[in-house]
Symmetry: D2
């Protein structure tokens, strides 16, 4: 079956799951998304991108941005500087929980839960003159799409409902693990989350994770070793409190966002992005996960 | 470099770490092991086994047995029967913690922490007439070593210090998630843990995980899909509360035991076993992990 | 209003609450109690006992027995021997929770939650040849009722559903804070809980807590200082996770049991026992608490 | 022994404990207090105040202010309005913990831990035009000392190190249980804590708790029932995570502050204030607690 048809077929197979999840409703700007969208894009190791379904429709990437943030931090700081402030372990708790952060004295479990991503945002704020602008430039270049932009409505909406994240940041500050001004860092963080990209953009932007650190332009964004490490962290902690189930069903390093997007990587082979706004109980796209599972079975490909 | 020399070289490289960890001391029978041992064995996809260091010296496999137990359960029960009683997620807690088991009403997070392995042992007890005998037969056949045996001294010693595991079993029983007699199941469980095997035995026994479910004898122990699923669970939960760090450094599905052994898999390529008795803070072999990390770098191989 | 009428009036006032709580259903022997019972007895400082409602009908005293156990422990051990093994603080958790026991390394918060009472039962078992018999003798003498007995059906029923308490005991044993055989101590513990007494018996038996340690017979069971200490512990920890609300509404040291009984003390003045089987969300008698609250207001008496 | 001498004797008896605790060091303004201070004042039911030691030296009342805040809230709101937002139970956790606040979805356990006091401060902010000014007026009148003032250095210092309290406030806000602007409420809250009073001032100010709600001026600040309720809450939750031990040793409702002050009440009899800056592990004045214990024994008085 030609690849394009294979993607279309996969989308058709899981379309029946639409209606079984729940669109993220914690801010109005996300709650109003059309729940019936579903799309997939794949960028293969030769740099070609194909897609099916609503793969050209932009959405809010939300926590998928945490991959871009961590990658930038790896360019600005030593390993020791990063991993002394945030761990590498799955949390076993909800993505926005403070329990573990308090019990483990302000050091978040990994860079993909909110607490960890806020520490990374704090690191970026400290070294970059204009972190939001920098993020935009990096992501535009990675995806080869110069029109990418922040969704200001979403960013503002997040900021208006930012109490939980503010609480997490202040808790880490109380333990000496957050240096910047909380409001300033939160604003940057919410802008990163409010990036609007489509599946094609994201599969292209994440290409370096499938290509030993080299971007579509051929630049070395991170080293081959760092690429392996990033994929390892995604495999164990990229899917909130559903990383085990995702590895079991899909078998690829991945990262999800509450906007309904999920990126997934087959190292040496392809980077993938799926999108469908309805979420399962862990906050991961319900139909998107099924789409990746189906694709993994069809391709007979996973990392395991 | 010929492969044999590569293993020997790896062992030599990490030998300097001996003395930096701590031998498990919770039962006398384990505490008296010579801390200076270190060995590695690799069984490649063509069925050949090579090794270096103390790879022919038997040790107590301890929690590595949890892989064999789960594999047997997959042969005796449907997926639904198993995963309704134990989860697939990393725990984010110590391997013998009851906190999460209570908060999540008796359902352990995964089959590789003690609580989960006790549920699996309960399942085996219910369907097998002689579960200890069965385990011995399975493991002898997998490793092609008919002399394998339980270390009765270790098994008895574990049973004498079994209060924590008894507490976990009774807690699950109080939630209706443990059916058998606690003492009977504990005795079987401690025997599984008290299997004595060497690195060569274990790398051969785990070969099916590298070979799409087929054993060295060519039998299909589990299906290719189940093999991928087992490797996925090992990658996210196989190293106690150090799975993220292990994925980051080593990049292979693996399972450790407090006897100092670790098995690791490169699917489609090889099954590996390392052994060195001194443990790090998470209860994983300190030099063993370093040995796998070194090997991964030398081979340029990981799943990521 | 003569005192007898005052009690009758209080019973009548709260009778409308019958039907609003829930009889304890975790063992069949308790679940079948008539939910419409309500009674009260008061033993005043001059040694007279009066009552109203079903105050002469025996019920299962359950956790109220924890007061008798602790009192016996005070007769057998030094303060240091007791308080090194169990704390004096409210737990802030459910009465049968293991979370805090694990986090605080096997030392229960106070002698009135299950974990703490099991430690006390372990202490009694170690020093008394026949702890069940001794308990019976003590309680018969305190209440001046030689016919008091254990309800064997309840004790056996508890033992059949003892997994949660076994789990707690083994957890403490794993931390070195439980010395006896778990099953033996559990059997004694369940017998203590299975004592059948009526409100009059209990108000008489608890008289020493109102009388500076002296029983109805004039014997010094505990010293005046120990009596104050016992009342202090009852005030802060005697009502499961509802001690604050009870102090707020009733204002007396007290101890409840899931059989629906509550004893309460006005030091220097009277010992009280109420009984009504239906419980509130914290496991305390719903109408019984209201009855004590009403009485406190009518008498204008509390410790505050 | 004349009462004055009795107080002096008590101070002398416990002076040997100076040096065994630790002055609160989380803000510089508190850390520099002379650790060797110790004082006591008693206001008896006839309105007379006597004292010994450093009872006329002002100190930072810190959490003792939570009693004044709650009392004001009782004047401004219905019971339902208050207790729907904060509980009445001991917490079983550290005074500044977020764990329980998250698990119990934003409702603090009681008004005397930080989270609960912040909710009360939020209530005061919503109804009072100038809450700081109001607090000052109330406390000046209660203590009959018109010179009382906030220690601006302490208030500012608290505000500079306010991350932990900000975290708690934002966490409650994320659950809809905090309405005001966090910074504004924190500033008021820190001013309440930064009141400077001496033992004589505080024993006079708390007189209403010993006198059925009537102040030294004869005004009814709260009703007799409310007074009993306040004393009940103080008895179960007034001493951080050391309420059980305090009840056991001292046997009076009380409230401590990290400035080293403790107030205690014998209802119908006297209000007491002790002060000594060094704290025990629970954050309560070490010598102050011993002083109250000694006094309780000398007087033969407690509520139990």
């Amino acid at each position: 079956m030609p690849e394009q048809l294979l993607l279309q077929d996969a989308v058709d197979k899981v379309r029946s799951l639409l209606g079984k999840g729940k669109v993220a409703g914690y801010i109005p700007a996300l709650a109003c998304v059309d729940p019936n969208k579903i799309g997939i894009a794949v960028t293969t190791i030769d740099g070609q991108t194909i897609g099916a379904g609503d793969y050209l429709e932009p959405f809010s990437i939300q926590s998928i941005s945490k991959v871009f943030s961590l990658t930038q931090a790896l360019n600005l700081y030593t390993e020791e500087e990063i991993w002394s402030r945030v761990g590498k372990e799955p949390s076993g708790h909800s993505f926005n929980s403070l329990v573990q952060v308090e019990l483990e004295r302000g050091k978040p479990r990994n860079p993909f839960i909110n607490a960890g991503a806020l520490v990374i945002a704090d690191l970026l704020q400290a070294r970059l003159g204009a972190p939001k602008h920098h993020m935009l430039e990096v992501v535009r270049q990675l995806s080869q799409n110069t029109t990418l932009a922040f969704d200001k409505v979403v960013a503002d909406s997040e900021y208006q409902f930012s109490a939980r994240n503010a609480s997490i940041a202040y808790l880490m500050k109380s333990f000496g693990n957050f240096n910047g001004d909380v409001n300033t860092v939160l604003k940057s963080y919410f802008h990163y989350c409010a990036l609007r990209m489509n599946c094609a953009d994201l599969s292209r932007a994440m290409f370096y994770l499938a290509n030993r650190g080299k971007t579509l332009d051929g630049d070395s964004l991170v080293s081959p070793v760092q690429t392996r490490q990033l994929n390892a962290l995604l495999a164990t902690s990229g899917l909130y409190d559903g990383a085990g189930e995702f590895a079991y069903r899909v078998g690829m390093p991945g990262k999800s966002g509450v906007g309904g997007g999920i990126i997934a990587i087959i190292p040496g082979d392809m980077s993938i992005c799926v999108w469908s706004p309805e979420l399962d109980n862990n906050g991961n796209s319900l139909a998107g996960t099924a789409l990746l599972e189906h694709l993994s079975q069809q391709l007979g490909r996973s990392i395991f």
